[in-house]
Symmetry: C2
Subunit: 332 residues, 2 copies
């Protein structure tokens, strides 16, 4: 009997899963996982991590990487795991995983964007309504006691009829598009390739999408191709009234350029859940009413974390049962 | 030739419309209206208003009431206008109009909720996402510089799967329901009577709706029947985790009771665009992170005001041409 067909008569017979996690992380998932898998956790061992991997993990077939963009899953780690066949990632983003390496070695990768996409889309829409309609601004205005004194808050703008360009029509982007369509927005998108069977206009590059949009919503993965995809030229094409919503990753945007344009009035507003050097946020933004600033919370709710745990367990169980993975990342 | 069939050869031949407006109101609409109608404005006359109405307006058939809930259209005014057949109101709410009186005299009333409903629904959804996902709270947290210091903001809650009870399935309520369905919310509603051909669960009273909802969204008109419709019993039925969104009128809610329950943790949160004694807002709310406070902005954008002007002119033109009114209020 091998580890892929465990009997339920002892923890040692459960399939082994190597766990990589930040040391500070409280582990809401451990209990749920421990019932199905034997977790090998270098942080539980007195051995140095590399030595633990070399000595204890040579037969490990599955690696679970928990909320750890700070823990890159790169060649130097993966080289120590000759039996590895699967990397299960608990985030939506995969910028910390060396995908080309995994592809070369035939290692399957799963992510969790399917569990995060609804919350991410809800939050993108919330940020957009907030920027357009000045919700946070109005809340500040009322709390400061300004309403009876200053009277009317400046009007915001209507969502309906606005042209929204979605950058990255993956799970989060698709859910965002579905929601914004119900507000009467006109949806277009940029993606590496055109999606069949979607009712939205496709642009083959972000510049043209920006030039034809009032609003850009950034939902794509951060890769070397998408780093600073929203650069000076794209912001210029979007125009002085344009609005940028970012629920992807901070480095999708040339943040320095964005801040300068906001200061100069060369972009209309922004709703930012992520920042290039978070938790550091550029000071200039703190005094602006046309931005909404959020501490990287778009995809996180108790419900989404429950969904992630369920998806992780589902992927690992599928793997050890030779069934199709639930959220396999497609290499392109 | 009477006033209902004017020739375009002089302003005196345009149909007369009596205008009631607050003295402080800048009139974005006057130019557009002046091309089609001769406006009789008591504020332009040195005569006292009552005397102006008695002497100048006995033949007036149409009254336009501009953004003036502070200017009640009551019997004492209407009694001075024996020829009146139409009251055109520029707001969605009609609490300042004596509808039973108008009904008795056969005076038609139009309102502008059709022009405001999309913005009102957008804002209701924005307030709900904000309360559920702590958007304004997060914005305060980041602006205060707390993110690098305090770390994680507490998680909010997912919208999908929540039971949303819409109080008043009129124009704004219907548009709100349509949007929230795209977020995966389960929609139910209370209305004076059940609507045919809507896919949402109907409750014949607000208490039962609250008992079966996680969230109440208030979109109904303020009348004597709906004043304090959200009272102690309804809040109790909604429960300690329940959320109230109000884009209707402040007096739909027993505000004192709501504030006490928020203080005691007997209601989960609230997104309030309107208040019982606005612009006065209860001080206790200013320090709460579970509420979002908004200075009565839900339905106002440049686009909605343009739509209101268009609707007002459309109703008046239809009236003077004996065509069907565009937004006739149905008496019940």
């Amino acid at each position: 009997m091998d580890a892929s067909s465990p009997q339920n008569d002892g923890v040692l017979l459960l399939p082994e899963v190597l766990l990589l996690r930040p040391s500070a992380l409280a582990l809401p998932f451990t209990a749920g996982l421990g019932a199905h898998f034997r977790l090998l956790d270098p942080l539980d061992s007195p051995e140095p991590a590399r030595s633990f991997l070399s000595s204890r993990c040579r037969a490990v077939r599955a690696l679970l990487c928990l909320f750890s963009p700070a823990l890159p899953v790169k060649a130097e780690t993966l080289d120590l795991l000759p039996s590895l066949e699967l990397v299960v990632v608990s985030s939506a983003g995969l910028e910390h995983v060396d995908l080309p390496y995994c592809r070369r070695r035939g290692i399957a990768v799963t992510n969790a964007s399917a569990a995060f996409c609804e919350d991410g889309a809800d939050y993108a829409v919330g940020l957009l309504i907030d920027v357009m309609r000045r919700v946070s601004h109005g809340d500040r205005f009322v709390r400061a006691g300004s309403w009876p004194v200053q009277g009317e808050l400046p009007l915001g703008f209507k969502l309906g009829g606005k042209r929204v360009g979605i950058v990255g029509l993956g799970n989060i982007g698709s859910e965002t598009a579905k929601r914004l369509a119900s507000f009467g927005c006109n949806i277009a998108y940029y993606s590496r390739k055109e999606r069949l069977h979607v009712p939205y206009t496709y642009y083959a590059n972000v510049h043209d999408l920006a030039a034809n949009s009032n609003i850009l919503v950034l939902c794509c993965a951060l890769t070397e191709d998408t780093r600073h995809i929203i650069n000076k030229d794209v912001m210029s094409a979007l125009g002085n009234e344009g609005i940028i919503i970012n629920v992807g990753r901070g480095a999708l945007v040339d943040e320095k350029e964005l801040v300068q344009r906001l200061v100069r009035g060369e972009i209309g507003g922004a709703g930012l859940d992520v920042f290039e050097h978070e938790p550091k946020v550029p000071d200039e933004l703190f005094v602006m009413d046309k931005v909404v600033l959020s501490p990287h919370r778009a995809v996180f709710t108790p419900e989404s974390l429950e969904g992630v745990q369920e998806l992780i367990i589902g992927n690992l169980k599928a793997f050890f049962s030779n069934e199709p993975l639930r959220s396999l990342v497609q290499y392109e």
